[in-house]
Every structure is written in structure tokens, then in C-alpha cells.
């Protein structure tokens, strides 16, 4: 191991609604670290594996291998969990109508909601922690060294609770989160790395579940955010849901089958909807062709024009935030020099058209920037920020990011109105000092309610924290003078401290998040503590590599008994044979890297086989068998190669 690693590497992580990525700097260039399957994107899907035969706690699978379980055992899988991060039970009611999230039956208002996965329950930060740990392991495999520090990106418009929940998830995954970076800002960093230019840029970030717009000024390596706006519940998921709703309604009306009763089938239709959406970015029509349980086929053409009409209301919701951000920056659209597009949904031509109109681009002979892959650019920027924090590289030495708080911070005043103490778009860290006193003689407590948002009434804003200033020395009403300092740190998270000025006593204050986990709760949810122990590291790598190898070899051994096997060409079969022979030999050695490489080769050789299996699995699931029998069949037949990713958490 090289000396420079002694301090450990800081990786950049994009914890996305749909996909997550981990990235690092190789010299002066940021790059995404691929997973064991060779792919850069890790789907943000978490599945609880079946209960082991010995009755122990089931393991958890993340990513592509968890995806397959969406159709097989939908009640043991969760996706888009980012939509639930830092949100209360009341707030997520809307989500529950659109997503198959199953809340634990005993969830109570005021506590962090828990998701029922099979027989276990998880909070949203725990689910996210599993994804983060998969990314951490991917990075460790890549470096052959432990990774314990990370920069994680969040939507710019995330509030305090959502940011705190993300940080908690990092801690549970065994990562010290050195900084939360806003996604659009990260994208700007990725773009700005090799172009030391000055100017004003707008980042339009429409992802799977969130929308952000940020306006930045670039000058001498300083990226100064002028304003930001957005919607934490707007994205590609909403488009998928529109297509899904049409298909489900039409299937019900035309064929009399209510697929909503079959979670696995709904997921199969959702998959078809997503494929159609993606196709419509390049083709003028797409088709639904879905075999129904009764043998009928649901067929439908989706012309692009119709699709664009359908999604227009969704896209229009990005207009208001963009205009507000431009106004808040004190600019007109013409004063914005460059526009950067981020997020998979910006591949949709109608989105590009809208952006062009919003910023008058074509009229000024400009085009939006799309040179960097919109799925990867945020992770790449996170890696740049990680490098800035590590302070170890010449290429980022001159760079500095000055971000803002997206929402105003206020205190509930008499009559339920909000007294704003830190305005939105203030550069962070930012602070404000307020003075409080007592209303009754001898009063020793003062209750304070902190809210975040732009509305006039506290009830319409997001409640951040209620806390008591305690231990105020008894005095006549109005005499104590309690100075409370509110500080938003560089992660956008609030800290509060207080001092009683007449007595000079630091009042003891208890900041209790209105929603969120306590420190003790987070501590108890840390996935495993031995994970960071360096001594075990090499051993663990070897064990993991062997497990990976065993899993895939076992799957390949069973493969010839599957009907899909016969659909492979003889060349493909030979390639699988050669690769498995190689791996069989490699796994007897102590060389984790060689075993891992052999697994990758075999994984690659069996990819088409896995696709054929998946196809078979989808139509089986839809052919009207109960989900259980389909699942059992799948468990016997579908094993490779998605099942091979060593994503179990013991």
C-alpha cells in the first residue's frame, strides 16, 4: 500500500433517487468507480434476501441484483427511498399512493417512519446506508484499501432534516461525511474543473425524484452560488408514474384486469413504461406490448407528441423555480452565460426545448452543456470536492465552493407568524443572533420553535426543531436577556447555542429535531463496526472475493438445466466454460484481486444469459401465476449473473 493512502482517500458519492455512484480523482481527472459488475451506476434498490435455512437474519442485496427481486418478491424490495429521507409520517402520505412503500404497521406520528421489508423494518437512513456501504465496498475493492471518508451530494433544495438524514446514513455505513455538497453545485465543479473561466452559469438538474436549479458565478476558481431553488418531489419518477397510470387504467378498462392487485406485475409494467420513456428521447414512437395474465396482450403505440403533451404539466413545474432563482440572483435570463444540464431526465427533448426557452439559448446562438454524462456528472463533481477537502492536489488547490442555504430560517413569533432570521440564498456558513426574554416573573424556561421555509405562517413552513432554553436564573419578567445564536454550517445543517447575558450563564439548551433520529438511535443502527478495521481488511477482501466466485460458479453450474441456456450460441457457451475454468483455478489461490478479476470475466461472459433469464422471468410473473410460485421458480432458475454481485450484508 502506498504511503499517501495512510490518511485514507476521500471519495465522492452521488446518492441518487434512481441510481447511486461513487467517484474519485485519478490524477487531475475525476472518474466513476465501477461496481463488481463493471457498471458505473448502482441502482438505488435494496432487497432483503430470503430468510436463511438456519433461521438467521436475512442478508441484504443492493443494486442490479436487488432489481430482479422487484418482480420476484416485491414485498422485500424498496427503491426511490430518497423520497422518504428526513420526512415525517404525515409528509409521506402522498408518496405512499404512488410508490409501493410499505410502512411498518406500528408507525407513529412524530417518529421516523419505518419501512416493512419482509419480516424486518428499516428507517429510510438505514436503507440508504446499505446503498452507501455497497458504494464504499466498490471503492475499497478498487483501491484495495479501506475507505472511511466521503463527500455525499444532496439536492440543493433539501431541507435541514433531509440533510441530517443523509449524514446519518453515511455514519451508519461507516463513512465519515466530510461534506454534503449540493448536486447542481457539484455538477458545476465537474464542468468547471478544466475551464478556468469567469462567467455566470445556471445548472438545471432534473433527476429521478428531485429538481434543482442553481445559478453560480465563476471567478478565479471560486464557485459562488448566487441563488438556488427547486422541488424535492419532482423528477423522472413522476413521468414514469404518468405512463404507468395510463397503462394500468387501459388494461383495467380494456381487459378487465386490475393489475394494481399484483405488485410484481405493476413493477413489470413500470419497467416497460421506463423503457418507453427512454426510447422516446431518440425515437418518434414507442410501444407497449405486455402479455397479460389471461394470455391477452396489451398493445399500445405512444407517439412522442402525445408523450410530450402528457408530461408537459410535470415539466412546467420547473419553470417557477427557475424564474425565481434568476430573479433572486438579480439577473435576467440573457445575463446567464452558460446552462449545464444534469440528471437523466434532461435527455428528454421536451426538457431541452423548455430550457432553451427559459434561458433564450438558441436565440443567443448558445446550446446547453451536455458534454459530461448527465447521470455521472454529479458524482464526478463530488470527487472534485472530495479532492478539495483532502487538500492533496494541485489541480483543485485554487478551487473553492461557496454555497447558499436554499430556504429561509425563521422563528415562530406571536400569532403563529414567522420572523425570518436568515434569508434564503445566504452564503453558508451563515449565522444570526436573536434575543429572547421571559414573559412571567421567575420563568426559567423559554420555548423556541425554529422553522424553515418561505411562507408567512409557521404552520405552513417545515418545522425544524422545538427547543427549550432551560436554567434561566429566576428574574422579573422581561429582565433576562438570552442571546441565541443560530448557525447554518457548510453542510446546510443548523446548530444552536444560547447565553443568558445578564448572569453570563450559558443556558442549557436541548435542540430536539422535530423529526429525525437521535444520536443514540443512529449509533445503534451502524451497520457493522468491524468494517473499518484495517487488520481484517485483506482477509475480508479475500473472503468476499471467494464468496463472489462461489456464487457465480454455482449459478453457472445450474445454468444448462435452464431453457434459456439453449438460446445461447455455442461461442457464448464456450466463453462461459473458459471463464468458469479460469475462475475455478483462481479461487484456490490467496490472490483476492485475481479471484475478483476472474469473477468479472465470468460475469461478463454470462450477461446475455442473465438477460434471457430476466425476460423469461418477467413473462412468467405476468402469466397469472401467483407471485409466490413465480418467485419459487425464479429462485430455482434465475441465479446468474445478477445474483453474483457480492452485495450481501452479513
Amino acid at each position: 500500500m502506498k504511503d499517501q493512502m495512510a490518511e485514507g482517500r476521500v471519495v465522492g458519492i452521488d446518492l441518487g433517487t434512481t441510481n447511486s455512484l461513487v467517484a474519485t480523482m485519478e490524477g487531475d481527472t475525476p472518474m466513476v468507480i465501477p461496481g463488481v459488475d463493471g457498471l458505473n451506476l448502482v441502482p438505488s434498490v435494496v432487497a432483503l434476501d430470503p430468510v436463511p435455512a438456519n433461521g438467521g437474519r436475512p442478508t441484504v442485496t443492493v443494486g442490479n441484483s436487488a432489481r430482479k427481486a422487484l418482480i420476484e418478491t416485491p414485498e422485500r424490495v424498496i427503491y426511490s427511498v430518497k423520497r422518504l429521507m428526513g420526512r415525517s409520517l404525515e409528509e409521506i402520505q402522498e408518496e405512499l399512493k404512488l410508490f409501493p412503500f410499505r410502512l411498518a404497521g406500528d408507525s407513529e406520528a412524530g417518529e421516523v417512519p419505518r419501512i416493512q421489508l419482509g419480516e424486518l423494518r428499516f428507517t429510510p437512513p438505514e436503507i440508504s446506508a446499505y446503498i452507501l456501504r455497497q458504494l464504499k465496498r466498490n471503492a475499497e475493492r478498487f483501491f484495495s484499501a479501506p475507505v472511511t471518508q466521503a463527500v455525499i451530494t444532496v439536492p440543493a433544495y433539501f431541507n435541514d432534516a433531509q440533510r441530517q438524514a443523509t449524514k446519518d446514513a453515511g455514519r451508519m455505513a461507516g463513512l465519515e461525511v466530510l461534506r454534503l455538497v449540493n448536486e447542481p453545485t457539484a455538477a458545476a465543479l465537474a464542468y468547471g474543473l478544466d475551464r478556468a473561466k469567469a462567467g455566470t452559469i445556471a445548472v438545471y438538474d432534473l433527476g429521478g425524484g428531485t429538481f434543482d436549479i442553481s445559478i453560480l458565478k465563476l471567478r478565479d476558481g471560486i464557485f459562488e452560488v448566487q441563488s438556488t431553488n427547486g422541488d424535492t418531489h419532482l423528477g423522472g419518477d413522476d413521468i414514469d408514474n404518468l405512463l404507468l397510470a395510463i397503462a394500468l387504467n387501459e388494461i383495467h378498462a380494456e381487459h378487465g384486469i386490475d393489475l394494481r392487485q399484483h405488485p410484481g406485475a405493476v413493477q413489470a409494467v413500470r419497467k416497460a413504461a421506463i423503457e418507453a420513456k427512454i426510447l422516446l428521447s431518440t425515437e418518434s414512437t414507442a410501444h407497449f406490448d405486455i402479455e397479460l395474465p389471461n394470455g391477452d396482450r396489451y398493445q399500445r403505440e405512444i407517439p412522442r407528441a402525445g408523450f410530450e403533451m402528457l408530461i408537459e404539466p410535470v415539466l412546467k413545474r420547473t419553470v417557477g423555480p427557475c424564474k425565481q432563482a434568476i430573479t433572486d440572483a438579480g439577473l435576467t435570463p440573457e445575463q446567464i452565460d452558460e446552462v449545464v444540464l444534469v440528471g437523466g431526465s434532461t435527455r428528454i427533448p421536451a426538457v431541452r426545448q423548455l430550457v432553451d426557452e427559459l434561458f433564450h439559448l438558441a436565440a443567443r446562438g448558445k446550446r446547453p452543456h451536455t458534454e459530461l454524462n448527465p447521470d455521472e456528472v454529479v458524482a464526478l463533481g463530488a470527487a472534485v470536492q472530495a479532492n478539495i477537502l483532502a487538500g492533496s492536489s494541485k489541480s483543485t488547490e485554487e478551487m473553492l465552493l461557496l454555497d447558499v442555504t436554499p430556504l429561509s430560517l425563521g422563528i415562530e413569533a406571536l400569532g403563529g407568524t414567522v420572523a425570518r432570521i436568515i434569508q434564503r440564498n445566504s452564503t453558508i456558513p451563515a449565522s444570526a443572533t436573536e434575543h429572547f426574554t421571559t414573559g412571567v416573573d421567575g420563568q426559567t424556561n423559554v420555548a423556541i420553535h425554529v422553522v424553515q421555509g418561505e411562507r408567512e405562517l409557521a404552520a405552513d413552513c417545515r418545522s425544524l426543531a422545538r427547543f427549550d432554553l432551560k436554567g434561566i436564573p429566576p428574574m422579573s419578567a422581561g429582565l433576562p436577556r438570552i442571546e441565541v445564536k443560530f448557525l447554518i454550517d457548510a453542510d446546510g445543517i443548523l446548530h444552536v447555542s444560547a447565553l443568558e447575558q445578564r448572569s453570563g450563564m450559558a443556558a442549557q439548551i436541548e435542540v430536539k429535531p422535530t423529526y429525525g433520529l437521535t444520536d443514540e438511535q443512529v449509533e445503534s443502527m451502524i451497520l457493522d463496526s468491524f468494517d473499518n478495521a484495517e487488520a481484517d481488511f485483506a482477509k475480508r477482501l479475500l473472503i468476499e472475493a471467494r464468496n463472489e466466485a462461489e456464487t457465480i460458479l454455482a449459478a453457472v453450474e445450474r445454468a444448462p438445466s435452464s431453457p434459456a441456456w439453449n438460446r445461447l450460441t455455442s461461442d457464448e457457451k464456450t466463453a462461459i466454460k473458459l471463464a468458469s475454468d479460469y475462475l475455478n483455478k483462481a479461487k484456490t489461490t490467496e490472490d483476492a484481486a485475481a479471484i475478483h478479476e476472474g469473477t468479472l470475466i465470468l460475469d461478463h461472459a454470462t450477461r446475455r444469459f442473465a438477460e434471457l433469464m430476466m425476460e423469461a422471468a418477467v413473462s412468467t410473473a405476468l402469466r397469472g401465476k401467483t407471485m409466490n410460485t413465480a418467485g419459487e421458480e425464479l429462485a430455482e432458475t434465475v441465479t446468474a449473473p445478477h445474483a453474483m454481485a457480492p452485495a450481501e450484508f452479513k
Partner: protein, 229 residues
């Protein structure tokens, strides 16, 4: 964590123990970051309190200090350095935000001088402040029109004449605001360059001008609300 130290008292550097005046972000001897200094926002930028500022010089200094103070530069530093970097950067940002904006800067300076100024970061309650005498009649008329417009909106009617009249009123208030701003700028110069007597007179005028300005911008905001921006 936010100990405010009397700025006249020399303090010892936490790192090199050599005493220095507490108005500095970095130790003059060992260059280590120091806890947030006492003193006002102007002193963060090393300038005397004044109202006409060179904004590009201010921005340049803001960037220079940000590069040295920002928590990103202390990600792997000692815990106390991290804390002070956070507190110092918050102070720097608060100071820059206040000083770069002409109105906030004026309000801040007046407050430093002990004048009663409301922040103007408007909650709705404040708008009922006294109407300037010369505007009383018009404001009465305007409020009636706003009321009419609201009830018209509620029933889905459009009253083009009323809309035109409100738009006209808005333009007029914009002109009035510009006049106030010009008067304010004149008082800035009077304060920046005047003796104590001139300063005190400028101070009083600025307080009155700020009241007037806040009153008129609230009117503009109300009209905007009714007209839908």
C-alpha cells in the same frame, strides 16, 4: 463556542501564545486561525465604517478571505481550528451579505450608531407603520382599489381599467423609490465626509428615508401580489 471578547483586550494566540489585539482572524505571529474577533462587520474587511463602498474591492477581499477561512480548508485540521473556521466564515459571510447590499449596509451602520431601525426584512405586521403624510390620500385610494381587485379576482372577473390604474400606481411608486434612493445616497456622502454635526443630521434623515422606503416597497409588494407579479 461564540465567545465574544472585548476587542480592546489583547489575547494570547491559542497556538503560539504570543499576545495580539483581538480584531484579527489570523495570528500575526504564527498565522494560525483565531476565534471570531470582536468588532463590527466593517473591521472584518479592515475598513472604517462608511456608506459609499467600492463593491468590487469588497468582493475581492471577500474571496481572498474565503480562500483562507472556509471550512473546506480545514477539513483535516484540529477540532478547534475547524470550529473557528466555521464561526469565522459565518462572520465573514454575514458581514459581506450585509455590506454588499446598500440598504442592509445603511440599516446596519445606523444600528451601530444606536438608531432604532427595523430590519425591513419584512414580516407583514410591520407594514402598518405610519404612512408618510404626503402619500396618505393616495394610499387610502390605493387600498380601496386593491380591495376591489381582490374581490374581482375572487369572482373571476377582470377589470381592465382597474388593472391599468394599479399598474400605473406601481410605476409611480417605483419612481418614488428611486427618488428615495437618490436622497439616501446624498446622505451617505454627507455622513462619510461630514463632521459630527453633519453626521448626526444625516443619520436622522437616513432613518426617516428608510422608513419611507420600507413603506413604499410594501405598497409595491401589495400591488404585485394582487396583479400576480
Amino acid at each position: 463556542m461564540f465567545k465574544v471578547i472585548d476587542s480592546a483586550v489583547p489575547v494570547a494566540c491559542w497556538s503560539c501564545s504570543i499576545g495580539h489585539n483581538d480584531s484579527t482572524l489570523f495570528c500575526p505571529h504564527c498565522s494560525k486561525i483565531q476565534p471570531p474577533p470582536g468588532g463590527d462587520y466593517f473591521s472584518v474587511f479592515g475598513i472604517e465604517p462608511k456608506l459609499s463602498l467600492d463593491l468590487s474591492a469588497l468582493e475581492h477581499e471577500f474571496h481572498r478571505l474565503s480562500r483562507k477561512l472556509h471550512p473546506d480548508r480545514f477539513a483535516r485540521a484540529l477540532d478547534n481550528e475547524k470550529q473557528w473556521s466555521l464561526a469565522d466564515t459565518a462572520l465573514l459571510n454575514d458581514a459581506y451579505r450585509t455590506l454588499k447590499d446598500p440598504l442592509r449596509r445603511t440599516q446596519y451602520l445606523l444600528k451601530l450608531l444606536g438608531a432604532e431601525v427595523s430590519a425591513g426584512d419584512e414580516s407583514k405586521e410591520e407594514k402598518s407603520a405610519r404612512a408618510p403624510a404626503d402619500l396618505l390620500e393616495e394610499v387610502f385610494e390605493l387600498n380601496m382599489q386593491l380591495e376591489e381587485m381582490r374581490s374581482a379576482r375572487a369572482t373571476g372577473e377582470t377589470d381592465l381599467a382597474l388593472e391599468a390604474s394599479l399598474t400605473q400606481a406601481r410605476e409611480k411608486y417605483h419612481v418614488l423609490l428611486e427618488a428615495v434612493d437618490e436622497d439616501l445616497r446624498a446622505e451617505w456622502d454627507a455622513w462619510d465626509e461630514g463632521d459630527n454635526v453633519q453626521r448626526s443630521s444625516a443619520q436622522k434623515k437616513m432613518v426617516a428615508l428608510l422608513d419611507r422606503r420600507r413603506y413604499i416597497s410594501n405598497l409595491v409588494r401589495d400591488v404585485n401580489e394582487v396583479l400576480g407579479a
